[in-house]
Each structure stands twice: as structure tokens, then as C-alpha cells.
Symmetry: C2
Subunit: 213 residues, 2 copies
DNA sequence: CTAAAAATTTGGAGTTGTTGCAAAATTTCA
DNA sequence: TGAAATTTTGCAACAACTCCAAATTTTTAG
């Protein structure tokens, strides 16, 4: 029990630093806030900040843990008789229809978007995240389909499915940044999802169907 | 006439600095070479380097000018009765079949790939380049099809076509990095191109067909 | 409860990319 | 040749990030 105390304190400091940082970023932009300022505002030394976060960007994206394997999880959890792509489309539609903050549909998301938009370092991180999403999805598809080692299909299919995901996210981000209301953007995204599904070939829509009856 | 002299000299210095830099990068890696070293090796001050190149990464990617609008150019130059996607597929096949250095099919490309692979800053630049390619292609598609302002299709189609391009490039890069011979990789890429075309829907393959008879 | 042990925080010095500015060197032009 | 424009350079500075050893705090053992 005595051990849990230090752990808890560490998590608290970490969280606090991250909160203070995001607050400052939202207020003044990513590049305009210096790590030294963050440290000072959090009553901590600069070195302590770097103890918890390997880089400045990690202070901003701390909340987005568990996003990297979202697509892979959705695919692994697809229904019987459902393909990988259709599972992702279904889950995406559910999130969008529910106006879920998990897909950026909440009042104030535009402030986050603005910070990202203006900071190349943060955009770079998002691309890196996309890469991770792709790789975990490809691995999942390989496992689920038992594809041979040299088979290029899991890679290509992961590419197509990630494209779906990305197209929705980019559109939501763009519209929210433009000041639209979450409910509006939700409706628009649902139409977009139909357009997107329309552009996918049967081969993609029927890949990795979970065998069952 | 007298004016051309200074211009020429500037281009020479610029080229020389870039050459020296890429040489060092290929030899020892991007991060291991410092800008100060490059300047010294090129008999120039650090400030002069920054006079010509806005950032260290630009020293490496100086050769890749004109890549950003390649897809847009291919689409604009498509044949009568040919769609945007098919034009890109045709041009890609031609480059791959010709074992063209423009698509990375040359002895020694693995050395470039290794440098990029090990330097996050350079990979980040490539993503940024992809974004540019996408945006110029989208603009071209909008112009060519005369799509309405709110039409999401040019964006989506650009996404699909860029995906084709990217999938080919990534595969070539991966295989070259693994030490394969250009001729081998060329053959493999042609098969991949067939796989890719197979995954595109008719809607994509028939978008932006150039009107003619 | 206290002292040693383990982990965390901190200060300080240093490296690198990058920018700004004014002086110096070079090129162009009258 | 000399003035004007331009390029190059040196210098100072800032910010992200790393390394290291000292100081502080927390845990644990006696």
C-alpha cells in the first residue's frame, strides 16, 4: 500500500503539468509558450517537465493515448459476417451520430484545432500518429486474416481503411475550425461517410469478413 | 549581361553547399552532421547556409523540387477519354517499367532511404510533401472537373489517387532499403500496381474523364 | 522512531538549430 | 575610380533538449 502513494503523487504532478501546459497552449499558441514558462507555471523545474514528457509536443497530446489502436480494436471487434472496412464505417457512424467528443465533435474543439493548425511540430505529430494507426491496423489485419508474410494486401487494405478514418477526421477538424456547430458538422460528416463508402470497391468492403453464420 | 554573373555565382554556391551537405548526410546520417560542420566543409559561414536554406532539412531535399505537382501535372496531361486515376496509373507504370531514378529505382537509393529512415525530421518533411501533393492535385481536379465549391469529391478523389502514389513509393523505398536490386523491385512494383488498381472502385477509376471521342 | 536506501527533483553547464542585427567584404554600375 | 547595392560574416541571443552530480523527498528496515 505504501508504494501506491508515490505512484499517485507522480501521476498527479504529471497530470498537473500537462493541464497547465495545455491551458497555456490554448491561450497563446504552441510555439509562443516556452517550456521554461510551463515549468514555472506548474511550480516545477524544467528538468522535471522533461522527466515526464520526452518532448514539448507530448505535453499537448497527452490526452490522446489509446487512439493509436482504435481502428485495430474496431476491426478486432467486428460482428460475425462483417468485414473490416464495414466495421470501421459502422463505428465511425456511431461516433459521429452520437456527436462524440472522441471524434472532435464538441464545443471548443476549434481552439484545439487552431493550436495544431499553427504549429508544424504538432501537425507532424499527427502524421506520426496516423502512421502508428496504420501499422497497428495492418498487424491486426494480418493476424485476423492469417495472410502470408509476403502478402501486400493487409498493407493496402490498412491504407484504404485509414484513408476513410482520416478523411472523416480532417473534414470534422476543418469544419470545426471554421466555427461550425458540432451538431451541424455531425450531419455533414454522416453525408460524407456515405460518399466515402460509395468510393470503396467491393474488394475493400468485403476484406477480412469474420467467418460465422 | 553583367547581372547574370552574380546570379550564376549564387546558384553555384547554393548547389555546392547542398552537395557537400548531402555527401556528409549519406556518410554519417542526418542528425550526426551539424550545420556548423556543413558550413565549414563548404568554406562558408553558418549564416550563409541559412541564407540559402530555411532549415537543415532543406539541404537534404533540395533535389526534390518539382515533385509536389507531379500528380497534378500527370492528371492535367491525361489522354482524351482517360480518367485522372488511370492517367496516374499509366504514368506510374511507365516510370516503374523504365526503372526510372525518379521513382527511386537506382543503385544507391537505399543510402538515401537509410538517412531518411533514421531521421524523424526528414520523415516529417516527406509527410509535409505528401500534403502538398494532395493539395495541388485536389486543386487540379477541382479545376478540371469544374466541381462546385462545397463538393467533397475532389478532396476524396485526390486522397485515393495520392494513396496509390504513396503505396507505390513506400513499397519501393522499403524494398530498396532491404537491399534489393532496382530491376527486381521494378517487377515487384508492377505486380503491386495491378493489385492496387484492383482495389480501386469504378467510381474512382472513372472520375474526371477527359471529354473527347 | 530513526537512519540508511531508493527514487525524485533540481541546478548548472553544454550542444544544436535558428534568428536578428550591424559591420565587413564583394560585386555592380555610373 | 568611387558610390550603391548585395552578399557574407561575426556576434549575441533564444529555445529545445541532454547529461551529470548534488540536494531533497519518500520508502523501508531495524
Amino acid at each position: 500500500m505504501a508504494e501506491g502513494l508515490r505512484e499517485r503523487k507522480k501521476r498527479q504532478t504529471r497530470q498537473y503539468i500537462s493541464d497547465v501546459a495545455t491551458g497555456l497552449f490554448l491561450e497563446r499558441g504552441f510555439e509562443a509558450v516556452t517550456v521554461a514558462e510551463i515549468a514555472e507555471a506548474a511550480n516545477v523545474s524544467v528538468n522535471t517537465v522533461y522527466n515526464y514528457f520526452p518532448a514539448k509536443e507530448d505535453l499537448f497530446f497527452d490526452r490522446s493515448a489509446g487512439v493509436a489502436d482504435r481502428l485495430a480494436r474496431w476491426v478486432r471487434g467486428r460482428d460475425a459476417g462483417e468485414s473490416a472496412a464495414r466495421a470501421v464505417l459502422r463505428e465511425l457512424r456511431a461516433e459521429v451520430e452520437a456527436v462524440s467528443p472522441r471524434v472532435g465533435l464538441f464545443e471548443g474543439y476549434d481552439r484545439f484545432m487552431r493550436v495544431i493548425h499553427e504549429a508544424p511540430a504538432l501537425r507532424s505529430r499527427l502524421w506520426s500518429l496516423q502512421q502508428e494507426i496504420h501499422d497497428t491496423l495492418e498487424a491486426a489485419l494480418r493476424e485476423e486474416t492469417g495472410a502470408a508474410d509476403g502478402d501486400p494486401l493487409p498493407d493496402l487494405m490498412a491504407g484504404q481503411i485509414c484513408w476513410v478514418h482520416q478523411a472523416v477526421f480532417v473534414t470534422i477538424g476543418r469544419e470545426m475550425l471554421a466555427g461550425r456547430k458540432p451538431a451541424e458538422v455531425s450531419r455533414e460528416a454522416l453525408v460524407l461517410l456515405d460518399d466515402i463508402e460509395d468510393l470503396l470497391s467491393e474488394k475493400v468492403l468485403n476484406y477480412a469478413v469474420r467467418g460465422a453464420a
